[in-house]
Amino acid sequence: MKKPNRILIREEYCMGCRICEVHCVVQHSKSKDIIKVYKGEGAKPLPRVIVEEKGHISFALQCRHCEDAPCLEACITGAMYKDKKTGAVLCDEEKCVGCWMCIMVCPFGVILRDVSGKKVASKCDLCIGEEIPACVKNCPNGAIVCQENK
């Protein structure tokens, strides 16, 4: 496994613009074209990043891909698995039956119910295949950053 990086959330710089949400949706769409996704293609995919806001505090929260992830144990179908190469916790949507046990145990509440089609658990997948996750790449104020694991 290559030396892991980390995503850090810095709530002191989050402006609450939610552009991370927009790009997460685009990244998980068919066409990956922002105009097509929002004005054409039909139902938009769910964003996997949750922006929490209260007063002037805000931050974007996504799956922490925990070492000892409780969702891995709670999953009754084995759909939740840890990718051996990257260490990311991923959900195999083919296997998922939407029992929501993972939602029940995730202490960050970052797994969502996707009921747009087949009921599946939806969460951050670190934009597999991309070098930098879309939210990190597009945050205008450096509130979501990648950092070399020291």
């Binding site: 929490e52 929501w100 029940m104």
Partner: protein, 421 residues
């Protein structure tokens, strides 16, 4: 090192993965009395209701056993243990072990009902049950069924049968369905939904006897109050209890389940138990749910392989979607006595119910019906025994999230546990 695991479900597989993490060489033998590689037991109701097909059943792939070099013995039922020689007895066959894990799960509780030795009466805990029921329904063109027990298994079976076009009547002993985890309001929402899809619900009643046809097939159930309900099929789903059959009359300590300490070891050295069949010595904890079984299996596996790990206790919790309504319950949801504070949100029109139970400022239980977003945050607060006094007003608000929590606890959560790419 010879590891032997009796049982091929949640605990067994978790134990295998834990052992293989530390010990790539040791020999692992798995003894299963079923004929399938491995499957996710909760999925049998989805299979019955044709929401999934057989290909989707396996919990781990077929290659799992090859990859982890497991000797898998299917269709073999362990009949006894020779503690002195450290053997597992399968009839006359003997399997030697250095470390043994008993992960045989639970057995359905069979109530005393007169005339129950007839066709058409099934329990619903194994894949074989689902297959038999499906066959029976087809062969007998079953149109109506009775589900005895309004708990999780009974309701999931009911859903499956409804998908097959069968009219179901549910008979429940308590005054409401899901009585162990839900309160009146929560049960009410689901009861209403069940009635909408054509189910009948009879509460505060039990089945006393079955009636059968000439060909020994069930034709009706007779309730305690002598009422008769005609049916072609009965599912008995009153509950599950730990399967301690194997260790009966042995020096292995049992109570309701096989007694284990925090390292999942029984009172006999090198013999471990995990999952639905075991009972924690500490607090007599007996929580028969999937995530607990997996965690216990893992801990047992580590300890068997020589790595000391402790099981720190579990929470009663369940997530089940019934009639399209998602529900989650965690912890103490029906507290008795004083010293509890209840926070509630009930929107009848939208079928949304949220209840938080607090004790001395700490969240000890939560019920969510209809809206289960961010449910896990409550679970985390219950587990970490966080004092919620300072933010309890925010708990039921729509914008409740990590942001409602005190910032140092939140920072601890978010920055200690960081993402690895």
């Amino acid at each position: 090192m010879r590891y032997v695991i009796i049982g091929n479900s949640a605990s067994g597989i978790a134990a295998i993965e834990a052992i293989r993490e530390c010990d790539k060489q040791g020999r692992i033998t798995v003894i299963s009395d079923e004929s399938y590689f491995n499957y996710s037991r909760p999925l049998i109701s989805y299979l019955l209701g044709k929401k999934i097909n057989r290909e989707a059943l396996p919990y781990r792939s077929k290659e799992f056993y090859k990859q982890n070099r497991i000797d898998l013995l299917l269709n073999k039922k362990a009949t006894g243990l020779d503690l002195r020689n450290k053997d597992v007895l399968i009839g006359k066959e003997r399997i030697k072990f250095d470390k043994l894990l008993i992960a045989v799960g639970g057995t359905p509780f069979i109530p005393k009902i007169k005339n129950s030795n007839i066709n058409g009466v099934f329990t619903f805990t194994k894949l074989a049950d689902a297959e038999r029921i499906e066959k029976y329904v087809k062969a007998n063109k079953a149109k109506q069924a009775v589900a005895i027990g309004g708990g999780l298994i009974g309701l999931k079976a009911t859903e499956g049968l409804v998908e097959l076009g069968i009219k179901v009547t549910i008979v429940e002993l308590a005054d409401r369905i899901l009585s162990s985890t839900f309160d009146k309001k929560a049960s009410g929402i689901i009861e209403h939904a069940l009635e909408k899809i054509g189910c009948k619900l009879i509460t505060s009643n039990t089945v006393e006897k079955f009636t059968n046809s000439q060909s020994h097939k069930v034709t009706a159930v007779i309730l305690k109050d002598k009422k008769e309900i005609k049916c072609d099929l009965v599912i008995v789903a009153i509950g599950v209890r730990p399967n301690i059959e194997l260790v009966r009359n042995m020096p292995i300590e049992t109570n309701k389940g096989i007694i284990v300490d925090n390292s999942m070891q029984t009172n006999i050295k090198d013999i471990y138990a995990a999952g639905d069949c075991c009972e924690l010595k500490d607090k007599n904890e007996l929580i028969a749910i999937w995530p607990v079984a997996v965690r216990q299996g893992k801990i047992a596996g580590y300890n068997m392989a020589g790595i000391k790990k402790e099981y720190s206790g579990g929470l009663v919790m369940n997530s089940v979607e019934l009639c399209g309504i998602p529900t989650i319950s965690v912890g103490q949801t029906n507290p008795k006595g004083n010293g509890f504070k209840i926070l509630e949100y009930f929107n009848k029109e939208k079928s949304i119910y949220k209840k938080i139970v607090l004790q001395n400022g700490r969240i000890v239980g939560v019920i969510l019906v209809g809206d289960i977003e961010r449910a896990g945050i409550y679970t985390g607060l219950i587990k970490d025994r966080v004092n919620a006094e300072s933010f309890k007003e925010c708990l039921l608000r729509e914008d409740f999230g990590l942001i409602s929590l005190p910032s140092d606890y939140r920072k601890h959560l978010v920055q200690e546990v960081s993402v690895i790419i």
